[in-house]
């Protein structure tokens, strides 16, 4: 800084008036959109953790049979409603490794309940990479290899057993296969319907827009639960569990698309005003091209975020239907089907572990919400 006689200050550092038009102003933003989104998403700790958790969960789905000590419908007639069993490491102050105490069932003549008394003198170490009930790995390879199983003469009910003496822990793992995928199939259906109808409404406007909007409003005004009930009651009862599963996911998807279509339409209306869309129209691009090349890519990320946020609704929907006995039916295993057993208060009071499938539902729904939240926050990576 230099002071001139008239009282003003002038900076003395060298100044280049041609501060080049060739230099990039924001070199950090020179990347495809998804890289920028990922960069921002990484800083959203909760969303990142949830994303990793969900990714791992989905990747493990085909292999749950390996991690479950029992198969889904394997029964132990001796041990109905067995309470959760602890895995111990130390026996009388001595390290043994993971083991269980064998239990024997005794009738309690005062309450007329079975009591399972552990025999704490005989530690029985768990077996690893052992052979037990056979299942299909990834639905293809038949095998009977398990990560761990109960030793001969003992049981391993980590989360207890249910009314028929089936292992709750193993069934939760198997149930995840259906409960988690129902959301994906449902969202695929609702996604395609929502994008198609939402973009038609948003791009063409006028009468088309009016009709689609009224359909959306009518669909949204229908009470959801009775409609689900009616639609699932219409599924023939002689269909196999897989067919029922698909129908249920499609029903959930069909009832979910209006919300998505609305957000697609709103986004379309906003993006249509962007000048690059106008520019493409002035260049002579057809509407199809404008939608495909300019509109869809630019709001796909928004769609993925809103889809992530509506998967939990699907999972809860399946659970609700199955809980009421109208969704999936035994022998299919889902979290909702399992909770069906926990319908009366008395059984929850006496056998609280039958309600444990609620916990994975809560965790998964929360994880999806955190993930969706994180995605939504990182969608606009261009803000300063």
């Amino acid at each position: 800084m230099r002071q001139l006689p008239d009282g003003r200050f002038v900076d003395e550092a060298p100044y280049d008036p041609q501060a080049s038009i060739q230099t990039l102003e924001r070199r950090d933003l020179d990347a495809p959109n998804w890289v920028l989104i990922w960069r921002k998403f990484k800083t959203h700790r909760l969303g990142l953790v949830s994303g990793i958790f969900l990714l791992t969960a989905y990747l493990l789905l085909p292999f749950v049979g390996f991690f479950a000590p029992y198969t889904a419908n394997e029964r132990d007639e001796e041990r109905l409603y067995a309470p959760p069993q602890a895995i111990h490491w130390f026996h009388e102050g001595e390290f043994v490794g993971p083991f269980v105490y064998p239990t024997t069932a005794e009738a309690d003549l005062e309450t007329f309940q079975w009591k399972f008394v552990p025999d704490t003198t005989r530690p029985m170490p768990l077996e690893f990479f052992c052979r037990a009930g056979s299942y299909r790995l990834a639905g293809l390879i038949e095998t009977d290899m398990h990560l761990f199983c109960a030793p001969e003469g003992a049981t391993i009910f980590i989360l207890g057993s249910d009314r028929l003496g089936r292992d709750v822990f193993s069934r939760i793992l198997y149930g995840a296969q259906l409960s988690l995928t129902v959301g994906l199939i449902g969202i695929a259906v609702s996604f395609s319907l929502g994008i198609l109808l939402g973009s038609i409404a948003g791009y063409f406007g006028g009468t088309t827009d009016w009709i689609i909007n009224r359909v959306i409003e009518i669909l949204r005004s229908l009470p959801e639960l009775p409609l689900w009930l009616a639609l699932s009651a219409a599924v023939p009862s002689n269909w196999g569990p897989v067919a029922v599963f698909f129908i249920i996911s499609i029903i959930l998807g069909i009832l979910d698309w209006p919300g998505l279509a609305r957000s697609v339409r709103a986004k379309f209306l906003a993006l249509r005003e962007e000048e690059y869309v106008r520019a493409a129209e002035m260049m002579g691009a057809t509407s199809g091209r404008v939608i495909r090349k300019h509109l869809l890519p630019n709001f796909m990320s928004h769609l993925i975020a809103s889809a992530t946020l509506s998967i939990p609704a699907m999972i809860l929907g399946e659970t609700a239907l199955s809980f009421l006995g109208l969704g999936l039916r035994a022998p299919a295993v889902s979290w909702g089907v399992m909770l069906n057993d926990a319908q009366n208060l008395a059984s929850i009071e006496i056998y609280p572990w039958t309600a444990i499938p609620m916990i994975p539902i809560i965790i998964v729904v929360l994880a999806f919400n955190f993930l969706g939240d994180g995605l939504r926050d990182s969608l606009d990576p261009y803000e300063h």
Binding site: I21, Q22, Y276, A279, G284, A285, R289
Partner: protein, 590 residues
């Protein structure tokens, strides 16, 4: 007496990045105005927000002191508690923001929003506060304060909203007013009136002001002291007069050269010959029907354009100048066949000299595609005119792809050539648009418009979102391209001074009508219409000797019913466009 505000060695950075404000110091005395001048990204807004401590969360205050010595004794603004700071905001120091559209809450009546300050800081009763607010409304020039009290922001125009913002900032009689580009979003005539108002209020109340602006013309009209900033640093600082008369720092000089100016001593020129017309608009009108809420009332008709006759000779530039809502953009869209004119209107386009004219107002699908190769558009907002998902290469080759011209390699080769033409490097083809500055992006969208080798380019305010120095570069580029490629421009602008250098002929529009039309020099030399006079008078020139003439502005900027008798028009009686001298037409009763 100690200065009212002292800022010493202020340094602020965002996150872990380089400081965006570096070592800024200035002083401001009671009753004086300090102008912070600079381009976007120069740190001027961050500096004045630091005074009120309303910086974004990522901002880090690295060093410096901010001392405020108001009526309540000295305060170190960067040290006092958040609680005391709340007492300062709105009460001792208040702020006017740039966007009048966004700085008022749409859910509250104007009166309640303005009175809130009095309830919060003065603990006034509702009645007293209302009286005070109505008084302020009157002072900032609302004709009917009671009605303004009851209005919602959307009922007011941009200029009126900015007046309401000023009332809100003034009502608690602060010691210091910070105005962050208070007039940038306004039309020239409204800007002149708002600036005049701020100046009057300042004289009456004796408050000091920090005026943030990028326009040296505004500085010349308003400020006693100037701080010129560039990239977070002070380039030149001191009293306004010597700086404006004889800038020393090369950056300040550059700003002066770039500022669009209306020549001080214009002389008339011959209008360009009109024998080879590339575009002809004959009797073009456009009416929109707006359905009213009330089913018993007839639909409202909005006449965006009324009987426009314009001729664009090949190789020249015709500029349409007018405020927002004057119908200039509608006229441009009709010229590009983006919208059909009302029946009876004709738009004729001749791609080659002497060829059969194409009737643009009645194109079929195939003819439209052919027409689009000849006529392209450059858009206003460089930040939204390029899709963020497409690499520059894809964006530039898209027009060729749509029209199926050339192979991939040929397209890419042409894109590289166009980039060079607009002054950018060919290796930028692989980049994404968000890496570029506003000026670079405007170059890119010019390059895209040129890809199809058009003969007519419609420029819709291509420089109004850019900094002054960048605007200057873009205008030079456009002139250069026009002469090299024999292009013809239809140039839309709200600023007469901007088009002065590029246009061969200017049509001034107001309420859908052309009110005066002539070459720019003739307009400046001999403006006839009160609205043109107002536009010229309202333009702030960076020359302390030529202040804004508010009287002329007031005469012309009002409703057309208030104009002088020969020019007045009402809903039913509209004077016709009369040629007063060769090439100079005025809408008046001859």
């Amino acid at each position: 007496m100690a200065p009212l505000l002292t800022v010493e060695n202020l340094t602020i950075a965002f996150g872990k990045g380089e400081p965006v404000v570096r070592d800024v110091s200035f002083e401001l005395n009671r009753g004086e105005t300090l102008a912070l001048v600079g381009e976007s990204g120069s740190g001027k807004t961050v500096t004045c927000r630091a005074v009120l401590r309303i910086l974004p969360r990522a901002a880090r205050f690295l060093s410096g002191r901010i001392l405020f010595d108001g009526d309540e004794g000295p305060l170190a603004l960067n040290e006092i508690s958040e609680r005391r700071m709340r007492h300062v905001r709105g009460n001792l120091i208040s702020m006017i923001f740039q966007e009048p559209m966004r700085s008022l809450s749409p859910l509250h009546r104007i009166g309640n929003q303005v009175a809130e300050v009095l309830w919060l800081h003065r603990g006034m009763s509702e009645r007293e506060a209302k009286r005070e607010v109505l008084d302020t409304f009157h002072r900032v020039g609302f004709p009917d304060p009671e009605r303004t009290w009851r209005s919602y922001p959307f009922e007011l125009s941009g200029g009126m909203r900015q007046r309401a913002m000023i009332a809100m900032a003034m009502v608690a009689r602060p010691d210091l007013l910070i105005a962050d580009e208070p007039t940038t979003a306004l039309d020239v005539t409204t800007q002149a009136q708002v600036l005049g108002l701020i100046k009057d209020l300042q004289r009456d109340t004796g408050m000091a002001m920090i005026l943030v602006t990028h326009d040296l013309g505004v500085v010349a009209n308003m400020a006693e002291n100037v701080v010129v900033m560039y990239r977070g640093r002070v380039m030149e600082e001191g009293p306004a007069e010597p700086i404006l008369k004889d800038p020393v720092h090369p950056y300040t000089r550059q700003l002066f050269q770039a500022a669009p100016a209306i020549p001080a001593t214009p002389h008339p020129v011959e209008p360009p010959p009109e024998d080879d017309l590339i575009l002809q608009m004959r009797n073009v009108s456009k009416t929109y029907t707006l359905r009213t809420r009330n089913p018993w009332k007839p639909d409202m008709e909005i006449r965006a354009c009324r009987g426009i006759d314009l001729n664009l000779p090949r190789g020249t530039t015709l500029a349409i100048v007018g405020e927002s809502g004057s119908g200039k953009t509608t006229a441009a869209r009709i010229a590009l066949a983006a919208e059909p004119p009302d029946p009876g209107g004709e738009v004729l386009f001749r791609p080659e000299p002497g060829s059969e004219p194409i009737a643009v107002h009645a194109l079929n699908r195939a003819a439209r595609v052919a027409f689009q190769r000849e006529a392209q558009m450059v858009f206003q907002d460089p930040y939204s005119s390029l899709s963020p998902r497409m690499r520059i290469e894809d964006a530039l080759t898209e027009p060729l792809d749509i029209h199926g011209i050339g192979t991939r390699a040929e397209r890419r080769e042409r894109a590289a050539r166009m980039l060079k033409l607009v002054g950018l490097n060919a290796d930028m083809l692989k980049r994404y648009p968000h890496a570029f500055s506003g000026g670079q992006r405007q170059r890119l969208s010019i390059a895209r418009a040129l890809m199809l080798d058009p003969s007519l380019l419609v420029c819709d305010e291509p420089t109004s979102a850019l900094d002054v120095s960048v605007q200057d570069q873009i205008l030079t580029l456009l002139e250069d391209i026009r002469d090299r490629m024999n292009l013809s421009y239809l140039f839309i602008s709200h600023d007469l001074a901007v088009v002065a250098r590029i246009a061969d002929e200017v049509a001034v529009m107001r309420q859908g009508l052309v009110v005066e039309q002539a070459p720019p020099e003739t307009l400046f030399y001999n403006p006839k219409h009160p609205y043109t006079k107002a536009l010229i008078a309202a333009h702030p020139t960076p020359d302390i000797e030529r202040p804004i003439n508010l009287k002329l502005v007031a005469l012309g900027a009002g409703a057309p019913e208030t104009w002088d008798e020969p020019f007045r028009f009402t809903d039913t009686v509209i004077p016709s466009l009369v040629e007063v001298e060769p090439g100079h037409k005025v809408r008046c009763h001859a």
